[in-house]
Amino acid sequence: MTLIVFYGLAATAVTAAILVVLMSRVVYSALALIVCFGATAGLFFQLGAQFIAAVQVIVYAGAIMVLFLFVIMLLDPASEVFLPSRLKRVPVFALACAVLFTLVLLEAADRWAAAQVFTDSIAGTERSSGPGGEIETLAHSLFRDYLLPFEVTSILILVAVLGAVVLTRQHHETE
Amino acid sequence: MFGTELQLTLLLLIPGFGALVIAFVPSRKIHLLRGTSLFFTSLTFLYSLLFFTHFDPGAETMQFVQKVPWLNVGVLHIHYHVGMDGISLFLVILTTFLMPLTILASWGIEKKVRPYMFFMLLLEVGMIGVFVSLDLILFYIFWEITLIPMYFLIGVWGGKRRVYAAVKFFIYTMAGSLLMLAAILTLYFFNEAQNFDLVEITQRLSLNQIILPFPVELLLFLAFFLAFAVKVPIFPFHTWLPDAHVEAPTAASVILAGVMLKMGTYGLLRFCLPMFPSASAALAPAISLLAIVGIIYGALVALVQTDVKKLVAYSSVSHMGFVVLGIFAFNLQSIEGATFQMLSHGLSTGALFLLVGMLYDRRHTHLIQDFGGLAHVMPRLAAFFMFIMLSSIGLPGLNGFVGEFLILQGTFLEHAGRAAFAASGIVLSAIYMLWVYQRVFMGAVQNDQNRTLTDLNFRETVILVPIVLLVVWMGLHPSTFLRRMDTSVQKVVDRIEQVREPQIYRVEYRGH
């Protein structure tokens, strides 16, 4: 049963990703991206990381994509007419690299599997004890081992916000 | 540390301190600047004379030695180790003697006098440091210190193509000395005593406590040799010299020819021969061939120069060829002759550049065809030029002859063929010098700009008279110099004899 769910989600994620790349209109690719994020959130949930799945939906799909859509609406890229670029050979090279890349990652995954590093297969069993157990361990380690990175990321966010404001505001003055 | 006996460090400090004082003198007061730098350089000269008087010719070891641990970074033990022996004594005095004269000769420099004087004093510190340092790294540091001021002296106050000349000079010397640094470090790794002390390394090498397999020794020798060959300059590495001389201001030219070329030959004598005797013996024929080619090539090319300074530059290539020939003949006469020739070449070529500089101050050109018949207009300058020219072509009775005679005579004892070929250099030097004298001073005055030139003023005569006196003193009574060189040169010769079977004409120094 979980297998079917996995393959369903995986398929949606991949198609959404392809759509993101192929869509000519930027808005549609944004929406496809949101779908892709949703599918991955489902996979997270399946992998037992419920909190991360929730955060994924809230932060990625909710906040970041909204920001994207906001900017897309602001700049209205649809009217853009793209001049032929001078770089001809790049796409071919990129495709070739992508294919090679996946082959390499697959090879890596097999090696990891062969090394029996993993404890067991997912087999649908809930790992930790009862609801909240997994979040509890997450909270423990987040606020004990990784406290410093946590604080640093908060500063990072602050800086990002300030940066965004300064960049765009400065623009206003020159108007 | 400041005991009663003489301090070599003090000899280094006086010009250094002078440079500092110069930095604080306001740049507007040109006369004050000139005064202070003249004062400090003359003070250094007087102080260096004390070393001459207190020097004990018989001493086997280095004298006035001062050794203080300086940088002890982990496994690196670099000592501030300075000392003097027969060879370096006179080179130091040559430096301190020439400096005040060159400062006196730079009255023509009007713009940016303060940095100029600062660099000159820094140059003096570097040069004295090179001649007295006995620690390989300290030697290397001073070797680099001399490079920077000379680069600026040529680059800022030079002639039209000064930047090209300065850059070429810098890169040539730097490339050579980097190899030397590599060699110093490899030598350090071969030396269990983990230090850079030259005296100790030579000691251990001679007692075979440090075993250098021959190929390694050869490579180390070549690395050191290349650094010094560029400086000397030996034949293929000499093309920077004419450019540097033509573009350099008078004072820089005098110092470059008078002292900096000797750093190369001094290096050969102090580092290459004692530390790598078997490699030097193996390569001696090739190097002597290069030296002879240098002698003849330098002289022939000097013959056809149109620019006086370039002519004198090529002539010093030829004269330094003699010195290298002398060094690599490995016997007492030739090495003493080489050391003596270093001094006499420093004086006569330094004086030649001073004279050419004086001509340049008046006519702002070095081209020979712009001159002609100057003997009418400037009899005193013509007389001085004649005298210095005679000393440089080696007229017996003057300093040039003693050096060249001893070199050729020493080389003749070992290899008659080499000496005969090199002797042709004496004829060639007479040819190009006389020819330039005739074109510049003799004949009637055609160019009317030459008619109104003023003869030597008092300052210029004061510069030239001491040199003339010293030239005559060295020419007629060279034993004051040779006597003090005997022991240290004999030590170098013995070191070479250790690895080479003594020659048939074993020239023995009978100590007395």
Binding site: F93 | L406, V427
Partner: protein
């Protein structure tokens, strides 16, 4: 008393030279002149006094040395500033100071109005100093100091009037050719030290007489030494290969030519060979070479002299030819005869030069023979004194030249090389011819000098002042009497030979005392033969230039190529220029300087620099400004790393 301090005679000219040289500009002319003359006079006086005491010394004690100070001392090589007085150097120093003094007196008159007066006298004094150092030195190195010193003074004096371009060139040429010879000499000195471990005469000669006792050792070291020293002598005494500088040296003032290029400097080579007689007498091959070179130079120079137009050039070639005679004497081992001829030659050649100087002065610096003539009645003293000199050089009996030249010819014949004797006789004939040609053209016949016709204010050339004529008279006296100190064996004992004997005691006297030594009869016959040939030359000259002057022109036109060959000095100068000077300059300019230095070495340096630049232009293309391209490069890089880790590294 004076004898122990004979060496002070050297200091006087040095002091004179220094005073005149440095302070001379401020002195008025008379002070300069008398200062320099007095210094030479003093040294001549000291020489005379020491000669006077010297003779009174017994035979074997006639060797005095005086050590001043050690000059160069390195390892076991020692060369001191020390002086040696023995009969040979006694004779030489007398000639040098004596003739030098006379020429100084002569210069007072000759150089009266010249500019740079102090320079001239300073150099002249310096020359006397250098020559005396050369002559009195007691080791080869100190002799070399004098040797190059006189070369320097001749350079300075020839180039005295340096406004003239030709004077500058002649001076340079003289110094360089001397230098070439000096290098040979120097290498000889090296070889001497290498073989004998010392350069002192006495030690070297002692060692030679012990080690090389037996005659006829193979060419070996001694031969090389003597040959190298001879090369030095050819440079200094103007023999075959290196003589071309002497004729050009006539650019210098006439007293200089008289002193340096006739009496003293050029004889330095002869003195050197005489001094190293012990070495030369043991190197038969070199002796033969010297004889051949000597006689061929004599012949060549005599031939050229017969057609020269300039009075001083004639005398210059005559000097070269007479020097050839001296070297011939040395070559056959007759060192005494060579020195004797040197002595007499110094007198009569100086006389001829000074006489020609007074002629030139009288004709306001006219030197072309064919523009002179009939000066007999205007310059009586010069006329008579020059005839005395001419007769002496021609070898007319009763005159000094006769005795010294015939001594040489006799010794050559006695030593068994008749061919050389024959050539010697021919040269004697030619000498008589060109000397009498010179005399006839200047003093006899019609007056041809244009200056005379242009009606100069004082048309008739008048006799110069006493300072010119007095030396002429004294020298005339010497050229007459000097011969009697070296009488040939059939007339009396040769006092000069006896006097010089102690100097040659190391000489290898193992030669078979030729039986001919005492065949007086043959000697007289041979002298008569030379006399006849000389008289023939005299008559020919008389016939050509007095009886019917046009004969010379007809002869010249009949053999134009021979005449021009002689006239242009066998084109030797041109050959030297074309063969050596030109190519050296071309090679060093095109191949060495422009070619090697600029193209090869600098080319290499600039080549590497431009290579660096070319490559950096190519590499910079990567920064193309396209962000997507950068992304691709990054992807490529990542792939490489992944590829490496998964496939290559274990």
């Amino acid at each position: 008393m004076v004898l122990e301090h004979f060496w002070i005679l050297i200091l006087f000219p040095l002091v004179g030279a220094a005073m005149n040289g440095i302070l001379g500009r401020r002195f008025p002319h008379p002070v300069i002149a008398w200062l320099s003359c007095s210094t030479v006079a003093l040294s001549f006086l000291v020489a005379l006094l020491s000669f006077y005491n010297f003779i009174r010394l017994p035979e074997d004690q006639r060797i005095l040395t005086h050590h001043l100070f050690t000059w160069i001392q390195s390892g076991n090589f020692i060369s001191e500033f020390s002086f040696l007085l023995d009969p040979l150097s006694m004779v030489m120093i007398l000639v040098v100071t004596g003739v030098g003094f006379l020429i100084h007196i002569y210069s007072l008159g000759y150089m009266a109005g010249q500019s740079g007066y102090y320079r001239y006298f300073a150099y002249l004094n310096l020359f006397i100093f250098m020559m005396s150092v050369l002559v009195l030195a007691d080791n080869y190195l100190l002799m070399f100091v004098g040797w190059e010193g006189v070369g320097l003074c001749s350079y300075l004096l020839i180039g005295y009037s340096f406004e003239k371009r030709t004077a500058g060139d002649a001076a340079k040429k003289a110094f360089i050719l001397n230098r070439i010879g000096d290098v040979g000499f120097l290498i000889g000195v090296f070889l001497i030290f290498r073989t004998f471990e010392s350069v002192q005469y006495l030690t070297v000669f002692q060692a030679v007489s012990e080690q090389f006792a037996v005659m006829g050792t193979e060419f070996g070291v001694l031969g090389a030494i003597t040959l190298l020293l001879f090369i030095g002598a050819t440079g200094k005494s103007a023999q075959i290969p290196l003589y071309v500088w002497l004729p050009d040296a006539m650019e210098g003032p006439t007293p200089v030519s008289a002193l340096i290029h006739a009496a003293t400097m050029v004889t330095a080579g002869v003195y050197m060979i005489a001094r190293s007689a012990p070495l030369y007498s043991r190197a038969p091959e070199t002796l033969f070479i010297i004889a051949v070179v000597g006689i061929s130079t004599a012949l060549l120079a005599a031939l050229i002299a017969t057609v020269q137009r300039d009075i001083k050039k004639v005398l210059a070639y005559s000097t070269i030819s007479q020097l050839g005679y001296m070297f011939l004497a040395m070559g056959v081992g007759a060192f005494g005869a060579g020195v004797f001829h040197l002595l007499t030659h110094a007198f009569f050649k100086a006389l001829l030069f000074l006489g020609s100087g007074s002629v030139i002065m009288a004709l306001h610096h006219e030197q072309d023979l064919f523009k002179m003539g009939g000066l007999r009645k205007y310059l009586p003293v010069t006329f008579y004194t020059m005839w005395m000199g001419a007769l002496a050089i021609a070898g007319v009996p009763l005159f000094s030249g006769f005795f010294s030249k015939d001594a040489i010819l006799w010794k050559t014949f006695a030593a068994g090389n008749e061919a050389l004797w024959l050539m010697g006789v021919v040269v004697a004939g030619l000498t008589a011819f060109y000397v009498s040609r010179l005399m006839f053209l200047t003093f006899h016949g019609g007056e041809r000098s244009e200056k005379h016709h242009q009606g100069a204010p004082d048309p008739s050339p008048k006799e110069p002042s006493w300072s010119v004529t007095l030396p002429l008279i004294i020298l005339a006296g010497f050229s007459l009497l000097a011969g009697y100190i070296g009488l040939p064996s059939y007339l009396g004992n040769n006092r000069l030979e006896e006097f010089l004997a102690p100097s040659f005691r190391f000489q290898f006297s193992g030669q078979a005392a030729s039986a001919m030594e005492h065949a007086h009869l043959t000697e007289v016959i041979l002298t008569l033969v030379t006399l006849a040939v000389a008289f023939l030359g005299f008559a020919l000259a008389y016939h050509f230039y007095i009886k019917n002057p046009q004969v010379a022109e007809r002869l010249a036109n009949r053999f134009p190529w021979l005449y021009s060959l002689l006239r242009r000095k066998f084109f030797l100068d041109e050959i030297y220029d074309w063969l050596i000077v030109g190519p050296v300059q071309r090679i060093s300019r095109t191949i060495l300087w422009k070619g090697m230095d600029v193209h090869v070495i600098d080319g290499l340096v600039h080549g590497t620099a431009s290579l660096m630049q070319a490559w950096s232009h190519r590499v910079k293309r990567i920064q193309s400004g396209y962000a997507r391209l950068y992304a691709t490069w990054i992807l490529g890089g990542a792939l490489l790393i992944l590829f490496y880790y998964y496939w290559i590294s274990p």
